[in-house]
Symmetry: D2
Subunit: 166 residues, 4 copies
């Protein structure tokens, strides 16, 4: 899906980040510790700074066990830390962006991926970031999704829309 | 929630595993690589062997960003590896167990936690493991949940049921 | 469920309305007709006036085909008419109430009844009426639900809460 | 949506039934009455006989209050009666068909219409009828949906697929 997407993004300036190539620790939940969160030395800040410097965020994930990948969940969980991080106006900043979801799975994703879409709905709503839309693609092996004509058509429409709004 | 639960589990032989104290890598998705999955050296096998040696599994998680914790997601994602691991009859073994979910969150968890319950429903269904039930508790800070009288009452009923089925 | 509920409501002044004993027409959708909605002669107004004169609304329904009963759906659909009815400040009035749902079904209602709970969530949210909670009971035949100890316990807690808030 | 759909169905033999033009009573739930269900004199049988004589069923409904229309709910609720009707092998017959859903709504239907899709998923699953897919269109007033380019494109793909499978 990601590949089909990126191909279409030609002509739209964008940054592509592969979370699975980043080192991002699961959250150590210190929301209620006296001293707050300890500094974590990993790639989280680098990714977050890229996120904060863009207007439109596409969350592209394989559907693993009917949810986002653990890599992405680890990243999103860490937002709890950024919400308390004085370097950022994290929530305010996200609230001025828009979010889009691209999810691909092999087991009836247009039905069994719906709880994941609803989860993203709450995530984006919590930070006040409009949920501009989503595409669910079907495929198990890499490349499979290229046979999902409906998803490919949706990617095309999405990209035209993205280009028009520049 | 976990604390309230464990207190009630007195008299029910059980093993308690805290995933956040374990080192479990996010999955490196090699399902479609020629040689299959590489061996990963971390605590995954130890946890999985404990899981496989019990009849009844309680998945207890804080609701982080409307999903299970990244720690738990990392663990569950790795099941894809165990499904292909010749040492285990992973799916068959899980299919003879029962699963229960205890989830606690601070933002209207009995509504906004429902996509998570639905996700677990698909996860358990995929491996053929009956979903015996779930309890959703409300609370933000550790200990908060002790004011959620309904959840505490449900934990009590659940524990009586657990004791009776031994 | 309804019976268990009403028994517990002793001591809480309330009005009980059985929609299946009322004659309420499905909506004739004239939202976009020039002259608006035609007057409908049935029991809708009588029920709505009772609804508007109470502070707390309990929507109690069997789960039929994973949704509310057609009787209740017909009633709720007609709200679209009341939203445009100059006799009422319908939305403002509902926004000052609270809503609760009691739903009973025979086919894994605590899982398969969740889309219904999510539907109610959107319904109440649309009119700005806080969703105070819900109870899902299990039972097929009338009376079955009396064996659902967890639901009965929840009804008890709910009733104590209702009494305390008077 | 319905209009856009029917236009594309040219060349696919089909029967179009408008439930709102039919007289179908809400169910009188006599599942547990000794004598079973009383005969109801309305248009239900006529519609059901048309349903049973086709291979592919498209449930097209406006999204009213985040669910199917009361007209459609009344119809589906009555299936409980047909399941016990000796004239039909109702479940077996539906199990040999396929179902598709077309739903249109004005309030973020691709998000807030998801519980309705999940409800249909359980309905079809109960009778063993494969859920071939769904399209969610956005629009409030009649005709609005013709501006929803994505939904229109999906209708086109759906119709090509329908034609190819004849």
């Amino acid at each position: 899906m990601f590949e089909a997407l990126v191909k279409h993004l030609e002509g739209v300036p964008h940054t592509s980040i592969r979370l699975r190539e980043k080192n991002i620790r699961p959250i150590h939940d210190q929301r209620h510790d006296e001293g707050g969160f300890d500094t974590v030395v990993d790639d989280y800040d680098e990714v977050t700074e890229a996120v904060l410097s863009h207007d439109f965020l596409i969350f592209s994930t394989p559907i693993y066990w009917y949810g986002m990948s653990g890599h992405m969940k680890n990243y999103v969980d860490r937002w709890s830390q950024s919400l308390r991080d004085k370097r950022y106006s994290f929530k305010e900043s996200l609230g001025q962006k828009q979010a889009y979801v691209i999810a691909t799975g092999g087991d009836q994703p247009r039905l069994k991926g719906l709880p994941l879409i609803q989860q993203f709905q709450y995530v984006f709503s919590f930070v006040g970031m409009p949920f501009a839309g989503y595409i669910i693609g079907e495929g198990n092996k890499p490349g499979d999704v290229l046979s999902d004509l409906r998803a490919l058509e949706e990617v095309k429409i999405f990209n035209e829309w993205l280009k028009a709004k520049q």
